[in-house]
Each structure stands twice: as structure tokens, then as C-alpha cells.
Amino acid sequence: MRTEIQIAGFGGQGIVLTGLLLGKAAALYDGKQAVFTQSYGPEARGGASCANIVISDAPIDFPLVTRPDVLVCMFQEAYAKFRPGLKKGGMLILDSGLVRPSPMDASAPSIFATRLAEELGKKIVANVVMFGYLVGLTRAVSFAAAEKAIASTVKAKTVTLNLKAFASGLDQVRSKAAR
């Protein structure tokens, strides 16, 4: 099974790191195949930023995302730009504080990732909150693999904070499921 995941936002939000964490979790800790690519070019500076991850049980030949199964949008502009590319029936995930979806996407799963991150004391971990939410919703990688990816990637002194952020995102899935 080949799953294509696209994470879009703006430069500085940690979009690329989120993609890297997802791919690393799959490739190194879940024993799957994964390819991570990112958008390059002038648009990577302050404008739209996009991380693309392909996860598969079998070797991945074509490495790029063409028709994502999952699209995460953390910025209005990114939503406008990438929403049309989402596969029919694919899953859309939004940051409620930053994206106002069109009526057809009103029921798309969404969280206040940035606000939750602020509650943890660091706005910059919003991406990792979203990572937790994404993993909780899609089970694209195992929780344990995701946590290992975080622990082995972010600066050593920020591991605890980032694991909390991840758990916070994950909790949102659990609490929504409970509702």
C-alpha cells in the first residue's frame, strides 16, 4: 500500500521538519519504505512551504507525491493552493486557527495546533502538535516510531517539549473520538 501525504503551510512553521519526522518514523522505526521531498525554490522563503511524504510497504519507485491521500494545511494560502490536488476521498486536516475552509470542507478534522502549542509555552512546536494529530488520525506511522523520530531529530534539550507537543496533538484525536 502506497500512501502519499502532503503537509503545507508557510516557511518558518516547521512544515519541513514535520515531513522529515513522518518519513523518518516510517523508514527507520516502522520498517517501512519512505521518501520525503520538499518544495524548492523562491516560494520556500516565507511563502508557501510544502513537505511531501510517500510511505509504502514495498520499495518506492516514483518518489514524488502526485495525488496525496492526506493533505495537512496550516495556512490559508496553502489550503487554496494544494486543496485541489487532494485525491478524491482523501483526508484533509486543518489548523482551525489558520485556515477557514470552504463549506464543502467544513467537516474536515481540524485542531488549533498553534493555540495548543502556545499552551505548552512554545508556539514553534505547533508543527509537532499537528504531527501528533496527523499520526493519530491516519496511523501512517506507529506512535512509538513517531516518538522515536522526534527524540532522535530535534535538539536534545527540546525533546521533552516536543514529545509533549506530539502527545497534545494525539490527545485531540482521542478526545474527539470519545465525544
Binding site: 518558518g12 519541513v16 521538519l17 514535520t18 520556500a44 531529530t153 530535534v154 535538539k155
Partner: protein
């Protein structure tokens, strides 16, 4: 003439400095490169550095051929690239004494960018530039040192461009030792070379040299001897000369040629960065992620 007078010396104290099996050289009668090469050989001997640790690198042109005559490790590289080639040797073998011996066209025109940057970095390198005001090897074309108005194979109506003043340029871009001598001033030239060899850092010596074939003839200077005579009669040694006033025109009889060891300063020479106390960052971690919201990998230049 008695038998003794006719005897030709069977050995010379610089024999070991030249590749005897490559002689005679290709240089024209009256050319100034030979004396400059002789000074270089003598300077290597007097430098106190064993010959095995001297390396000579040159580019293309008449002067570039010197690398093929001196009997040390020598590299005759591509046109203009002697300095960066020498940089590579100097950086990985800081124990070697690397001299770039080449011409004005090679070092300053096609190699000009490398010249200014090697000086700026203060690479541990001695550059000896034989300036004969033209491209001699290819038949006397104009170059970056050809005086304004001088005739050359590609400037039949007179050179339309203003030339570089090489010591001024070298000092401006950071050379720690800058000198100018002529092929006639062999003692001072050799001494300047020895001084340069004893320094660490980027040094530059301009050697004014007759090129009767390429430059002298079209500019009515006469033969090499006549050019040497101009050097003799018009040279002024002034180690403290204002470098921007060092312009040269062999054709003008009113202008003095200012020579000297103009610059001799010390500043740290280039060494590649080395981290001796622990890696810069833990391998595999995105060291910029925390500060930059995780987007540490972004931004292709």
C-alpha cells in the same frame, strides 16, 4: 687565446636546480625570463628550505614554461589556474613551499579572479609574476599590463585600455609582501624572493622583463639589451613609494620606473577551519530546527 680561456665550464653551482635534459630552453634572445628563473633557483638554494620541499606551479605562457625547467616538483597547469592549483597543494601540504611562477597575462588577466581571492584569503603561497607587458608566447598580443597606447598584435592602432599597476593591485587585495624588481636587478630580485619564501602568507613579486620579440619590436624599443638599458638608466628604488603612482610605460623616456619592496606585513595566513573540541553539532539532528520553527532545511540559494 690560450687554452684556458677557451675552456667552457663543465659545471655550475645551480646545475642541480635545473632539468639539464630539458635545456636549451625555448626563450628568445634578450628575454627577461631566464634571469628571473636564475634568481628563483638561487633563492630556493638560499631559502634554507630543502629542495624536496619546494614546489613550482605555473600556468600557460612563456613564463609558465619555467615550471618545466626547474628541478623541483613542478606543475604546468591550465591557463590562469596556477594559483588555485597551488592553493590545493599548499592547503593539504602546509610543510611545502609553493611558488607560483607565471606571467602577467596568465596571472592577472585570465587568472585575475584567482589572484585577488588568493591574496584576500592570504593563502600561504609565493607568486612571482614576470611582467613583459604582452602575451609573448602567442606573438605579442595586448594584455592587462600593456601600457595605454602601446602597439601590440591585437592593438595595431595602440592599446585602448589602461593597464593594471600590479603592486598596487596586490597590496589592495591583501598580499603580505609586495615587491617590484626587474630582470636586471638580479641581486635585489633574488633577495626579495628569499624574503618571500621565508614568509607565511600570500606574497607577490613583479619582475619587469624585456620581451624584445613581442613588446620591444612593435614599440620601437629595440632589442633586449636596449630594454635592459632603459631599466638601468631609469629605475628608482623607493621602498616607500605611493603604490598608485607606480604606473609604467617603457616607451616614455621621462618616466622613472619605481622599484622596491613596498609591502611587508604580517597577518594570519589561511588555514581551513578545524574543530578540535567536539563536533559542531550532533550528527543527524536538525540543529537549526528549534530556533527556526523546524524549517532548518529550507531555503535553497
Amino acid at each position: 687565446m690560450n687554452a684556458e680561456g677557451a675552456k667552457i665550464a663543465s659545471s655550475h653551482h645551480l646545475d642541480s636546480l635545473f632539468r639539464a635534459d630539458r635545456l636549451p630552453h625555448i626563450l628568445c634572445p634578450g628575454c627577461g625570463i631566464g634571469p628571473a628563473m636564475h634568481c628563483f633557483a638561487q633563492a630556493m638554494l638560499e631559502s634554507g628550505i630543502p629542495l624536496e620541499r619546494h614546489v613550482c606551479v605555473s600556468g600557460i605562457g612563456c613564463t609558465g614554461r619555467v615550471a618545466g625547467y626547474v628541478n623541483v616538483d613542478s606543475y604546468h597547469t591550465t591557463h590562469g589556474r596556477a594559483i588555485p592549483f597551488a592553493l590545493g597543494i599548499s592547503v593539504v601540504r602546509p610543510d611545502l613551499k609553493v611558488t607560483v611562477f607565471s606571467g602577467d597575462g596568465d596571472l592577472i588577466s585570465i587568472g585575475g579572479n584567482h589572484f585577488i581571492h588568493a591574496a584576500r584569503r592570504n593563502i600561504n603561497l609565493n607568486v612571482i609574476c614576470v611582467n613583459n607587458f604582452n602575451y609573448g608566447m602567442t606573438g605579442g598580443q595586448a594584455g592587462p599590463t600593456t601600457p595605454l597606447g602601446a602597439k601590440a598584435a591585437t592593438a595595431p592602432y595602440g592599446n585602448a585600455e589602461r593597464p593594471f599597476i600590479l603592486p598596487y593591485l596586490a597590496a589592495a587585495v591583501g598580499a603580505t609582501f609586495v615587491a617590484r624588481w626587474t630582470a636586471l636587478h638580479v641581486r635585489q630580485l633574488k633577495e626579495a624572493m628569499v624574503r618571500a619564501m621565508k614568509k607565511k602568507g600570500f606574497t607577490f613579486i613583479e619582475v619587469l622583463a624585456p620581451c624584445p620579440t613581442g613588446f620591444g619590436r612593435p614599440n620601437n624599443i629595440g632589442d633586449g639589451l636596449e630594454e635592459m638599458e632603459r631599466y638601468r638608466s631609469r629605475c628608482v628604488v623607493n621602498h616607500r613609494a605611493a603604490l598608485h603612482e607606480l604606473d609604467l610605460d617603457l616607451r616614455r623616456i621621462d618616466q622613472p620606473f619605481v622599484l622596491g619592496n613596498f609591502v611587508d606585513i604580517d597577518r594570519p595566513h589561511f588555514r581551513p577551519p578545524m574543530i578540535e573540541h567536539g563536533p559542531a553539532a550532533e550528527f543527524g539532528r536538525d540543529e537549526r530546527s528549534a530556533e527556526r520553527g523546524g524549517d532548518g532545511m529550507e531555503g535553497a540559494p
